[in-house]
């Protein structure tokens, strides 16, 4: 193989990896903000909890490829390009973050919560000083699942023109070029592994001794 071809491919891998990371970072970051906020609100209102978990669960059951498809024809939020892909990835990441936020906060032991309230904590203080710190490992575990899944799902984003490592994989498949497929697949897998290891490290740090 020609050295120039290889160098071009390497450059492409690099820039597509960066695109991929941006897709994942923006969508995952937004999903964390939305998921944790809705999760907190859901622990305060039973009605909200039922609705939010139901919606997020339904979104999660839609195959990711189909979800990209559904969003395409919708005006304003849909269409070809990066923003549609990001929206889709956000929706897809919500459930694990939302669910783990709710489970983590609900998991604070009853006497701990009872004492904190009886000592005169406001609801905000209870959340900041007690519930969130104690739920943090569980919430992080949810973010970890969302992040690792997201890195894989973002590969499909290439199909609606959002770029990322999927570009190489789809092109490789179309032209039966194993090298291109691998050039997309291997960095995506490595990204997922790094993300998983990083999050696991963070989780262990946050978990109580």
């Amino acid at each position: 193989m020609d050295a120039t071809v290889l160098r071009t491919l390497l450059n492409q891998v690099l820039s597509l990896t960066i695109e991929h990371i941006v897709l994942v970072a923006v969508s995952c970051g937004s999903a964390v903000v939305i998921g944790v906020a809705v999760g907190i609100a859901s622990t305060r209102h039973a009605g909200m909890r039922r609705i939010s978990v139901a919606v997020a669960s339904v979104l999660q059951t839609i195959p990711s490829l189909a979800l990209f498809g559904f969003l395409l024809p919708i005006p304003l939020i849909g269409g070809i390009g990066r923003h549609t892909a990001i929206l889709c990835l956000i929706l897809y990441s919500l459930l694990p973050i939302l669910r783990n936020t709710i489970v983590g906060i609900a998991g604070v032991e009853r006497p701990v919560r009872e004492a904190a309230i009886a000592m005169g904590m406001t609801d905000r203080q209870l959340l900041r000083m007690v519930e969130l710190p104690l739920a943090a490992p569980t919430i992080l575990a949810g973010i970890r699942i969302a992040l690792v899944t997201n890195i894989g799902t973002a590969v499909i984003a290439a199909i609606i023109g959002a770029g990322g490592l999927g570009v190489l994989i789809f092109r490789g498949v179309a032209s039966v070029n194993t090298l291109e497929i691998m050039a997309g697949a291997i960095p995506a897998a490595v990204l997922a592994l790094i993300a998983d290891a990083g999050m696991s490290l963070l989780e262990r740090r946050m978990a109580r001794p």
């Binding site: 032991e109 009853r110 006497p111 701990v112 009872e114 004492a115 904190a116 309230i117 009886a118 000592m119 005169g120 904590m121 406001t122 203080q125 000083m129 007690v130 710190p133 104690l134 109580r208 001794p209």
Partner: protein, 238 residues
């Protein structure tokens, strides 16, 4: 809960330096009575006053910070150190760090713990007795005028329980604090109470001094007296 009255016709008063013990079986409404006092529950009718002021006119958050509270399961914050736990209410009240530290040191020593040894520990590294001592110190931290105890020593071994009861008597005198103490242990009630209120399914059956208690003929009081080893009463009567 809809419709069911948990407490009815319950009336009592406690002065500084006194301990009113609410004695009753499980489900008699003892804990509910405590929760009405710090407004973690609100009564549907009736009136509760502290220093002559109706608590419904007070802000519930301020009210709770002015009342010490100790429960059987300790309720220590597991991610905070002993010192941070003891300093909880002072922190909520905005005390400065130095003042909180001094107060925590003083309190931990008062409840019989070695400050140097325990102040940096997390609750999981304490024994049950130590945890409850920390919980008592936490309740006293901001020098409340009123203390609420919800079966605080029920989970402790008999020796530790006795030590804690003695400590309670010392602290009550030292702080000249009013206390409402929930228990289903008659001996504990007799040891600590200045008055005993007997609860029968949410109703006040009798309210007496510990000395008068053994003469009671009411059903719940009798059933509690029946739990004492025979012979003990005769000695009490002498």
């Amino acid at each position: 809960m809809e419709g069911r009255r948990i407490l009815e016709d319950l009336s009592f008063g406690v002065e500084r330096g006194e301990t009113l013990v609410l004695l009753g079986q499980s489900g008699s409404g003892k804990t509910t009575a405590l929760r009405l006092i710090n407004r973690t529950l609100d009564a549907t009718s009736g009136r509760i006053c502290i220093d002559g002021r109706d608590i419904r006119q007070l802000d519930p958050i301020e009210l709770r910070r002015s009342i010490g509270y100790v429960i059987q399961d300790f309720g220590l914050l597991p991610h905070w150190t002993v010192e941070e736990n003891v300093s909880l209410v002072p922190r909520l009240l905005g005390w400065e760090m130095d003042k909180r530290r001094r107060r925590a040191r003083e309190l931990l020593n008062q409840v019989g713990l070695d400050y140097q040894e325990v102040h940096q520990r997390r609750p999981y590294r304490l024994s049950g007795g130590q945890k409850q001592r920390v919980a008592v110190a936490r309740a006293l931290a901001a020098e409340p005028g009123l203390l609420l105890f919800d079966e605080p020593f029920g989970a402790l071994d008999p020796v530790t329980r006795h030590e804690m009861q003695q400590q309670f008597l010392i602290l009550r005198k030292q702080y000249n604090v009013a206390s409402v103490f929930v228990t289903h242990d008659l001996l504990e009630a007799l040891a600590l109470a200045t008055r005993i209120a007997v609860l029968d399914r949410g109703k006040l059956e009798a309210q007496v001094t510990p000395g008068e208690f053994i003469t009671l003929r009411t059903p719940v009081a009798r059933s509690f007296l029946d739990t004492l080893p025979s012979g003990l009463l005769d000695r009490c009567a002498d």
